[in-house]
């Protein structure tokens, strides 16, 4: 299964692209085709969106070809809905960024690429769209691709793919275009079918955040989703942050091993004080408990983040009080310059230092995404106000 997030400026034709992809791959059901002449309207599910003709929130579309199952996360392009784009991109395996062939990169596309880079979406593909409006010219495609490539390199994004398309006419979306003989690469659908599925989770260090303790017949089963790695019966484990040692005694399903990202329940060899919020890991590759965090944060709250402010940080299954000690700098998404900042406004990205009321046991986000990510919650409003990635 491949999760694909689409991003692009308001006028770059993102919804048209999705409509075209579903239409040409024959995923659209007959009753859906009948309700909208405009392909873009097919994914604008909310009344307000259809009235305004724009996407406000993420829409999840499912489709399948004989070769693969897909989920499309159609993300808003508007700057004011960046928090919704972050939602859609955080669980994506591949980011599809649309750029208008006539206009090239806009501030919005810079931002979307920056968010994809920040969230470490495993694969990024750029669609240079509206090729029909530039006479399907190779020179124009090259100029735009080079512009994007320069920007991607500065973001630390590598292996970015480029495909020239016309979402409106279908060129290179499902079928290869006859109008662009100079392009020898795959169509978008061919590319989506062949991109390797990003399940590196099983290869990483073993990480089991305990979600829930199941008590039955005098046994305690520690339930959670294996965030990374594999576990086998007999494996020695550390319970963190306490640091106590034990071994895997049994798996609830009767098996002898478990592989990420399965949800499991495990019994331990010793009677220990283990509960929700604890992390089980192998001693040789265990992360350190910390009382402070350096992280990159994307601010999602209406109220700006200010040094000294108090929040709740949720990391895997553990929530701790935290104080924003410092905003080290804000990242200007359009220039990639670091600027000093005394606060972070909605949709801004910055590097921060947080002091924790209780220890957390994270990995750097670049190494293990599931245990390197956290959210920031405002206790007064209950809102999720930040998305964080541990440095």
């Amino acid at each position: 299964m491949l999760r694909v997030a689409t991003a692009g400026s308001v006028d770059d034709g993102k919804s048209t692209l999705i409509g075209r992809l579903l239409h040409d791959s024959k995923s659209l059901m007959a009753d859906e085709l009948g309700t909208a002449a405009d392909l873009a309207r097919l994914t604008d599910g909310l009344r307000a969106e259809r009235e305004q003709g724009i996407t406000i929130d993420v829409a999840y579309r499912h489709f399948a070809t004989p070769n693969r199952r897909f989920v499309l996360h159609d993300c808003p392009g508007h700057a004011q809905y960046t928090r919704n784009m972050a939602t859609g991109a955080s669980t994506a395996d591949l980011a599809l960024v649309l750029v208008d062939a006539r206009r090239g990169m806009t501030e919005q596309s810079r931002r979307h690429l920056a968010i994809a880079a920040l969230l470490a979406v495993p694969s990024v593909t750029v669609l240079v769209n509206k090729m029909d409006l530039v006479d399907y010219a190779e020179e124009r495609f090259d100029v735009v691709a080079r512009e994007v490539l320069d920007w991607s390199a500065r973001l630390g994004l590598h292996g970015v793919g480029f495909i020239p398309v016309s979402a409106l006419h279908g060129d290179n979306v499902v079928e290869r275009s006859t109008a662009m003989p100079w392009y020898g690469g795959q169509s978008l659908l061919e590319h989506l079918e062949s991109v390797p599925a990003a399940n590196g989770a099983a290869d990483g260090p073993a990480r089991l955040p305990v979600q829930y303790v199941i008590r039955a017949d005098g046994t305690r089963w520690y339930a959670g989703r294996l965030a990374s790695g594999t576990l086998e019966i007999g494996d020695e484990l550390l319970v963190l942050p306490a640091g106590t040692r034990t071994r895997v005694r049994a798996f609830e399903d009767g098996g002898d091993r478990a592989v990420a990202p399965r949800s499991i329940a495990v019994a331990l060899a010793d009677e220990l004080d283990v509960g929700r919020g604890d992390l089980l890991a192998r001693p040789a590759e265990a992360p350190e408990p910390v009382r402070a965090l350096e992280a990159t944060v994307c601010w999602l709250g209406d109220e700006p983040a200010r040094p000294g402010a108090r929040y709740l940080v949720k990391h895997t299954t553990r929530s701790v009080p935290a104080r924003l000690d410092a905003i080290e700098h804000r990242l200007d998404v359009t220039t990639l310059a670091d600027e000093p900042a005394d606060r972070l406004e909605l949709n801004e990205i910055g590097r921060v230092r947080l002091r924790l009321g209780s220890p957390l046991v994270p990995d750097p986000y670049e190494q293990v995404r599931s245990t390197g990510a956290f959210i920031v919650v405002d206790e007064a409003t209950n809102e999720t106000v930040g998305a964080g990635m541990v440095a």
Binding site: M29, G45, A48, D57, A216, P261, S370, I375, V377, T384
Partner: protein
């Protein structure tokens, strides 16, 4: 890893998070295939222990008798929130279709029991407004959904914090398609109410849909006839259309669904047809 394993792992993770972070969850069960899968996932999530929360059915009184029989057999301790009772108490007025009345009964039951989380078997592929809903869908103290202000949902970190009186609707099978649900039913050998498989029934046609003859629907001059039909979705007898089919084995039903060109709800749910934004409007006032 097979995509069904991945989907199952996610759903169980979501269910356990709710049990851990909220005080009084409830699992909404209708006897339809999605809620049957949901209940199975919930039982798996807490094995070998017991389900740590109750199961509730918002019963319109217009259900297929086969579904009620299935419910009573599989979930003998189900909590029933009765629309008929809401009508009798004057909370709502009866109507030919009781679909919309469920919202009041549901919200009253949530308030009465003090539930702060309700699991539902809704899926994103079912309908346009559902495609936009978060896995954790926040409802204010009037049960209302505001689609313009959904909480950001990052990675698999869920924020289910609510104030007294508020609750969150949780949809663990959000990312499952209709076909995924059927394939899971097959893989896990789950039993479904018999109406999902082809059987002979007395029906009549109205507005391009085939309805069962029942005490709840007036024939109004339409003629009834017997046909071999199955149900693709299970709503009330008053608003659920049947599909003409001979498929009475699971494999055949799955093959038919895989080949179909009409969406599940488009084929069979008259409650969605009222307007283009029918589902969104119902959700805004507290529907599932």
């Amino acid at each position: 890893m097979h995509h069904l394993d991945q989907l199952e792992a996610e759903a169980i993770h979501v269910i356990r998070e709710v049990a851990a972070e909220l005080e009084k969850p409830v699992l909404l069960f209708s006897g339809g295939k999605d809620s049957i899968v949901l209940l199975h996932l919930a039982r798996k999530a807490f094995r070998p222990g017991e389900l740590p929360f109750p199961v509730m059915h918002v019963d319109t009184g217009h259900n297929f008798p086969e579904v009620i029989e299935f419910r009573d057999r599989h979930v003998p301790d189900v909590l029933v929130a009765s629309v008929q009772e809401s009508i009798d108490r004057g909370r709502v007025q009866d109507a030919p279709s009781r679909n919309q009345l469920q919202t009041t009964t549901l919200l009253d039951a949530i308030e009465e029991h003090g539930f702060d989380a309700a699991f539902g078997g809704a899926r994103r592929d079912e309908e346009r407004a559902r495609a936009k809903e978060r896995v954790f869908s926040f409802r204010d103290d009037f049960g209302q959904w505001d689609p313009r202000r959904q909480r950001p949902e990052l990675w698999d970190l869920y924020n289910g914090r609510v104030r007294p009186g508020e609750h969150v609707r949780v949809f663990p099978i959000s990312n499952w398609t209709e076909l995924d649900v059927w394939e899971y039913v097959r893989a896990e050998r789950l039993e479904l109410p018999s109406i999902y498989f082809a059987h002979e029934r007395e029906v009549f046609e109205r507005d391009g849909m085939v309805y069962a003859v029942s005490p709840f629907l007036d024939l109004n001059g339409d003629t009834s006839f017997t046909a071999s039909v199955r149900y693709r979705t299970v709503g009330d007898m008053t608003c659920t259309g049947a599909v003409r089919s001979q498929a009475n084995e699971l494999d055949d039903v799955i093959a038919e669904i895989a080949a179909t060109r009409i969406t599940e709800r488009g084929e069979t749910r008259a409650d969605d047809r009222v307007s283009e934004a029918a589902m969104e409007d119902r959700k805004r006032v507290g529907y599932f």
